[in-house]
Amino acid sequence: MVKYLAELGKLEFTDEELVKASEDMTSIIELMDTVKEIDVTYDPILDNKNVYLNDLRADETAESLETAKILQNAKNQQNCFVVPKVVE
């Protein structure tokens, strides 16, 4: 199970780490299981009542960050983000 969850999260564990992570997850899930004790149903209409979503702005070109600033934290960039080859 932990291996599957790790795959979903794009994480990798050594065999030793996997044992520890599985132990931790077992006790964490036991704590999470307390939510099963109560019979209560989610009502989507009630939710987000207090959240004020902004009006969307007009779909117009607006000033944004310069390319150089966007790329400044990329470890591998040649005026664009460089990724390993994905197409043969």
Partner: protein, 483 residues
Amino acid sequence: MEIKGLKLRELRQALDKKQVSVKEVTEKYLKRIKELDEDLECYITVTEDKALKQADAAQKKIDSGNAGALTGIPMAIKDNICTEGVLTTCSSKMLEDFVPPYNATVMDKLENEGIVMLGKVSLDEFAMGGSTQTSAFKKTKNPYDKSRVPGGSSGGSASAVAADLCLAALGSDTGGSIRQPSSFCGVTGLKPTYSRVSRYGLVAFASSLDQIGPIARDSHDCALILNHICGFDPHDGTSSKKEVVDFTAKIGKDIKGVKIALPKEFYDKGIDDEVRDSVLKAAEVYKSMGAILVECSMPSLKYATAAYYLISSAEACSNLSRYDGIKYGHRSNIGSSYEELIKNSRREGFGDEVKRRILLGNYALSSGYYDAYYGKAMALKQLIRKEYNDIFAVCDAVLTPTAPTTAYRCDENISDPVKMYQADICTVTVNIAGLPAVSTPCGYDGKGLPIGMSVIGKPFDEQTVVQIADVFEQGFKRIPPVL
């Protein structure tokens, strides 16, 4: 002039009366950081040059009669708040060398006010934790006892305020991360109503719960800072358009007839006797001032920790999917394919607790488990909100302990995630319900460690929360740490 221990408004007066210059204040704080921070480990980055430049600019503002409430005030900023051109690590190897190309909205606001930023302070990695011991860089200590944790995740902020390594600080609170460290370090922290303060530029942990807020010497100072960091922001899709009021407006008004709720579950077993007694004594102080104490119940509290961890981890695993080693953050040298590169970058960049949250979040959201866990947690969120609404239908505020214990030893709890999670029981409902709350000291235990109480208010009623906390603070003698 001696500036050590001054409150924000006292320093404001001293600066305006020219009893001290901003440069002198800044240099004294920088000197104190050099002397004490090696042991306390609050600061990840000290921005000395920037601070001195800001001090000059602030002095000019004061000299020209244009000073605002925060002009020249030395502050520390939690290292998950983006500061343009200044390292913002989130206490994670993943962002070890990340220099934001933009400011968080709160930083633009504070810089416009003319604050002096002394530096960036430590936190639990990605704000996930309650001890600041999951930081990849500075495992901050408690100034009252350096063998103990400062709480977390805003442990660097709270410890720095308590040790007078800054006059005030910004923290962030997803499940108690402003209030619990404030409690452990004997200072005051204000978690605003969700959406009051823009989250733009706050590195996302759980977006429906995250909120930035101040940590300072008392509630009045917190309210003064809140006055200048909140307000509508088009960059934050959940930012409130609610009118910004003066959060100090009700300070000094008496609390006769104010109804304060004491939900019995917050005072149950699991709360240390000394903590419970201290908060109940504070309740009696309120009663002696004319407040009406109302005993009530919040039955959903026993499910709150699980609901909080399911919701916050589900959001965290989604938010943290952006760290792929490509655009910014740690990029592994190992991996010839895109998939391998991402996995290796995340394996090397994230610490154990962050990985646990990603696993838990994926578990809560995965097919076959979604309804039983995430769906149930969302239903519990509604139930918790309803129970608060019921209480607020008859009461003005709720009084609870901020944490079940005082600060624990640095080697305790860290290896037991369940124990760590359960310690959040007193704070998580406030985030789930999106409410404002202040934690302020109300006593000290037998070891001399601070005990904090939380005053929780109705949505957007920070004024009352500050009023109630302040009236107690006026008669409470704080004992500063000996350093």
